[in-house]
């Protein structure tokens, strides 16, 4: 029954998408825009029904659905049973479709009643993308297939026909143990998808603008808010993924330059570049062609990322099973890129802009530098990730490209970006008189260097850490300097400095939201620098009663323990932690075993301190004793906090005045 419901939902959504594409095209080419709204609503309704059917199946343990039989078990607790909807390929595409439908519906709501050809064209493009994804779900990656051949804990064969003879197993296989271990794993995919799918919106507007031959800032303005929303969610999604990896793997685990991680970083980098260069176009009218290139690239990279993740062509920690979806995604990627760039070529004469940059040392120049660095960064990540594939295709040789390669390039790029983050806000538009530049940077430079010196004298003398501190403080100081300068110039002195400052921020939330995001990036950089360079590591094999001293704390191994819960059993070691003789905590590093799966998931336990976490991981528990690994990652929480601040800055920026009115703001850094 639920299979039928879900399939009908998908069919409706597909129908709605086809209608949307068609009616959108009609409306864009000057005909009536009737039928647009119903089509968009049909897509959303269909997608919602499909997701609802899947959730219902999971909550009621309906094992007649092959997807539920293979990925869910009746013992899976809430909220992991809900999250199973996107734990595997077929289900995650329902989520993709639903988010896409949601964004489409929001676009519809802002579609003006007067002839709005650009809006209609954008809706048509969204419809076309939706057609692809819903068609995918009805053919190659069908989440509502019924189980026709049950085996002990799962489904061996299935059929897409909802009325096929059902043979439902009594119990399901359950989710991958790694996915049941931590709540973050349930939230991470939806956040990522909100980011990925959201990037379809600016892409749709861009293609619409190109197709209709309507260059200019219109498409930028209208898609700006969606871009910021999508970018913020993508930021959160990436940071959550890193946080979860750290919680599960402890030391260094938050980022491994794994191909799937890179797949999410590439669109983020290019989207960040796009946010900045779009600003330039809205402000000064230049970089029009470049913006088209960027936004097409962002969307293409999200598809490429999904392809790399799901196609089985690249080996990765996130080992999703290879499925038939690989060739289809590759084909779609090809259509998107070739089609978009062909359209771009056809309209090349219209998009060649326009005002030229006068001086490289200016706000515009800093944006150019920012774009150069970010796209170079994305290029490096792309090259490194796909290089093994390319080399093997040509010469058959096996090469490995891992963390050392990426770090070697990412580190200098990141420092260069930090520097530009500091200089950007202090540079005026058009031209930066050297005197002005000096006046605005001399103070921050001194403060930054002093902070570096302080760090060198008190905390550590490692060069990378010092440099990060210096650049980070420079960014914060430059930003604060601009804020103070504008607050000073606010009319109405008697209001007080604080109120003046708040007024400055309130009047240009787009800019100051961005500055807050920069501050978040600084926090992330500091967190990475401290955690990577100042961590400590130790290993020990302990028998009951043994003690280990690590990071100023004493760890006493009390005893091993065993615990059972429905669908999950845990075995671990109990430790008492003391500091200077007084009790601090009890830690229980363990390994969790889920259902019938003999592979356990190692679950570290940690002591969370303001200065950083102390992680204890259990490697082995046997007759000889327990083998434990101890790690510290000082100040690593700065990364999670920083990520949140970055996204928060995006949220604030979004609430700003309607982006891109050509009237220069009263109080932007336009000196």
């Amino acid at each position: 029954m639920l299979s039928l419901l879900g399939t009908l939902g998908l069919l409706s959504a597909l129908l709605g998408s086809v209608l949307l594409t068609w009616r959108g095209w009609l409306a864009a080419t000057g005909h009536t825009d009737r039928g647009l709204a119903p089509a968009a609503r049909l897509v959303l309704a269909g997608a919602a029904v499909a997701m609802g059917a899947m959730q219902l199946a999971l909550i009621t343990d309906d094992f007649s659905l092959a997807y539920v039989a293979n990925h869910h078990a009746s013992t899976t607790p809430f909220p992991f049973n809900v999250a199973t909807a996107w734990a595997a390929l077929e289900g995650s595409i329902i989520l993709w479709g639903l988010v896409l439908a949601g964004f489409t519906w929001m676009m519809l709501r802002r579609h003006s009643r007067s002839p709005d050809r650009l809006g209609a064209a954008a809706l048509a493009v969204m419809g076309a993308v939706a057609v692809f994804f819903f068609a995918l779900m009805l053919t190659v990656a069908n989440p509502f297939e019924v189980c026709t051949e049950a085996i002990a804990n799962g489904c061996a064969a299935s059929s897409p026909w909802p009325f096929a003879a059902v043979q439902a197993p009594l119990e399901g296989r359950g989710p991958n143990p790694l996915l049941q271990n931590h709540l973050l794993m349930a939230i991470h995919p939806p956040m990522l998808y909100l980011g990925y799918v959201g990037m379809t919106v600016p892409f749709a507007y861009a293609i619409g603008a190109l197709a209709l031959g309507l260059p200019g800032v219109d498409w930028l303005r209208r898609s700006h808010r969606s871009t910021v929303v999508a970018w913020s969610f993508l930021t959160v999604g990436i940071v959550l993924g890193g946080w979860w990896a750290y919680e599960v793997l402890s030391w260094g685990g938050y980022w491994a330059w794994d191909p799937v991680e890179n797949a999410s970083l590439m669109p983020w980098l290019v989207a960040t570049a796009f946010l900045h260069s779009a600003l330039v176009q809205r402000r000064r009218g230049m970089l029009q062609a470049w913006n088209f290139v960027l936004v097409i690239s962002v969307f293409a990279l999200t598809i490429l990322g999904t392809f790399l993740t799901r196609s089985g062509t690249i080996q990765s920690v996130h080992s999703f099973t290879q499925s038939a979806i690989g060739p289809v995604l590759l084909g779609f990627l090809l259509v998107v890129v070739v089609g978009s760039f062909a359209l771009f070529s056809a309209r090349a004469h219209l998009v060649g802009s326009t005002p030229r940059i006068d001086h490289l040392v200016s706000r515009e120049g800093s944006f150019l530098a920012n774009n150069l660095l970010l796209t170079l960064y994305a290029f490096v990540v792309l090259t490194g990730t796909t290089y093994p594939l390319v080399v093997e295709a040509f010469s058959g040789a096996r090469v490995g490209v891992g963390a050392p390669f990426f770090n070697r390039l990412a580190v200098p790029l990141s420092f260069a970006l930090l520097l530009m983050m500091g200089l950007g806000p202090v540079l005026p538009w058009r031209l930066a008189p050297p005197r002005l530049l000096w006046l605005r940077t001399r103070g921050p430079a001194v403060i930054a260097l002093a902070a570096g010196l302080l760090t060198a004298l008190t905390v550590t003398r490692i060069g990378w850490v010092i440099l990060t501190v210096v650049l980070g403080v420079f960014v914060l100081a430059c930003s604060s300097g601009v804020l103070a300068e504008q607050a000073r110039r606010q009319p109405g002195r008697h209001e007080g400095r604080l109120r003046a400052t708040l007024e400055v921020i309130r009047s240009d939330r787009g800019f100051w939201g961005g500055q807050l995001s920069h501050a978040g990036v600084v926090l992330v950089a500091l967190g990475i620098a401290f955690a990577a360079n100042l961590g400590a590591h130790a290993e020990a094999v302990m028998s009951p009663g043994d003690t280990v001293v690590f990071a100023g704390h004493t760890f006493i191994y009390e005893s091993p323990f065993q615990r059972s819960a429905p669908g999950k059993s845990t075995s671990g070691a109990r430790l008492t932690v003391t500091e200077d003789g007084s009790f601090r905590a009890t830690l229980e590093p363990s390994a969790n075993y889920f259902g019938a799966d003999p592979t356990g998931v190692s679950t570290p336990d940690a002591l969370h301190l303001p200065g950083g976490d102390i992680y204890v991981t259990m490697l082995r528990l046997d007759a000889a004793g327990v083998t434990l690994v101890f790690d510290t990652s000082p100040l690593i929480w700065l990364i999670w906090l920083g990520g949140g601040v970055v996204a928060g800055g995006g949220a604030i920026a979004m609430t700003g005045r309607r982006a891109g009115t050509m009237a220069p703001a009263r109080q932007t850094a336009d000196v």
Partner: protein
């Protein structure tokens, strides 16, 4: 005036701090640890993408111990890495060397940076004209536009479909590796005696192995190696699951070997009788029994009867017929066997 003083103060501050920092950082104890550095460049072969220095797996820790030992022995970084790659191949390195296939990997970012900078400089130097001036190229009639776009879309869709089809076809292709072979599909004529012995030895309890046993035993028999053939024929005869025809052949052979190899007439006759129990009209069994009776038991009359029974069979080859006839004649005449 005071402005210049302020500037100087700032500059002095900055210079002092920079120098101080440089001194502190450079004077910091060297954290260079070759073992750590090498360990972070080698992928753990039993993990998923981790470097051996980061992995808790025992194999990774053994490899770290090996690295440590080699460093202590004075081996250079290149030597150690080349030893590891000659065992595991270059895929085990996380950091590809700047040579050969991976040289492009190192060059690409630099080339991209240079390219990006030159594009910016070129763009700056070449104004493209005022906005809206380049109206010429394509007249923007809606009809034409739609058609052009539709045509372009069709082309790209076809291209995409081709890629999907090709990709799906490639995806279904077999990966390397033959997989465990099916016993029933083996052609014994292609396999050596030792291999057959091995397969039989490993599958003693599998009833379908009798066919292979027979094939091997026949090989030995025809080569005159009764000693090797014997245990296999025996195993077939004693197995309760052998097919009639197989068991029959085994018993016939056993019978003949008992006589021809060991001179045991009674045993041979017993075995041949057992064979005839299964297939009373078998020419081979009848003939061999006849031979045994004639040559071994000196009972030419009975032998003659059996030879006659053989000749009564319709489907004998001429050569065989002649031979049996000759033997029959000789036996009837009461001669000793030749």
């Amino acid at each position: 005036m005071s402005e210049r003083l302020r500037d100087t103060v700032y500059l002095v501050f900055m210079t002092i701090t920079v120098v101080a920092l440089a001194a502190l950082v450079l004077a910091a104890p060297d954290r260079d640890d070759r073992v750590q550095e090498l360990g972070s460049r080698i992928r753990c072969p039993v993990c998923e993408g981790e470097a051996i220095i980061d992995s808790p797996a025992p194999m990774a820790r053994d490899m770290m111990k090996l690295i440590r030992q080699r460093v202590d022995e004075g081996a250079s970084d290149e030597e150690i890495l080349s030893e590891i790659t000659s065992s595991y191949s270059g895929a085990v390195l996380l950091d590809p060397p700047a040579e050969g296939a991976t040289l492009w990997l190192w060059l690409a970012p630099l080339l991209a940076l240079a390219g990006g900078i030159s594009v910016i400089l070129w763009w700056r130097a070449h104004p493209g004209g005022t906005p809206g001036s380049a109206k010429s190229a394509t007249p923007s009639s809606p009809r034409r536009r739609s058609r052009a776009i539709a045509g372009g879309l069709l082309v790209t869709l076809v291209l995409g479909a081709v890629v999907v089809a090709a990709g799906s076809a490639l995806q279904d292709r077999e990966g390397p590796g033959g997989g465990a072979a099916d016993l029933d599909s083996v052609d014994p004529s292609l396999v050596s005696n030792e291999t057959m012995e091995a397969v039989i030895g490993a599958n003693q309890d599998d009833p379908s192995i009798d066919g292979m046993r027979l094939a091997l035993a026949e090989r030995y028999f025809r080569a005159g190696d009764y000693r090797s053939a014997f245990p296999h024929y025996l195993a077939i005869a004693q197995s309760g699951t052998a097919a009639d025809e197989t068991a029959h052949t085994a018993l016939v052979r056993l019978g003949w070997m008992a006589y021809d190899g060991n001179g045991e007439v009674e045993t041979a006759l017993e075995l041949l009788d057992q064979a005839l129990d299964i297939d009373a009209g078998s020419p081979m069994a009848l003939y061999l029994k006849g031979l045994v009776l004639w040559c071994g038991a000196d009972r030419p009359e009975e032998a003659g009867d059996l030879f006659q029974a053989v000749l009564d069979q319709a489907d004998l080859e001429d050569e065989t017929r002649t031979e049996v006839s000759d033997d029959l004649a000789a036996a009837r005449r009461g001669e000793g066997c030749a």
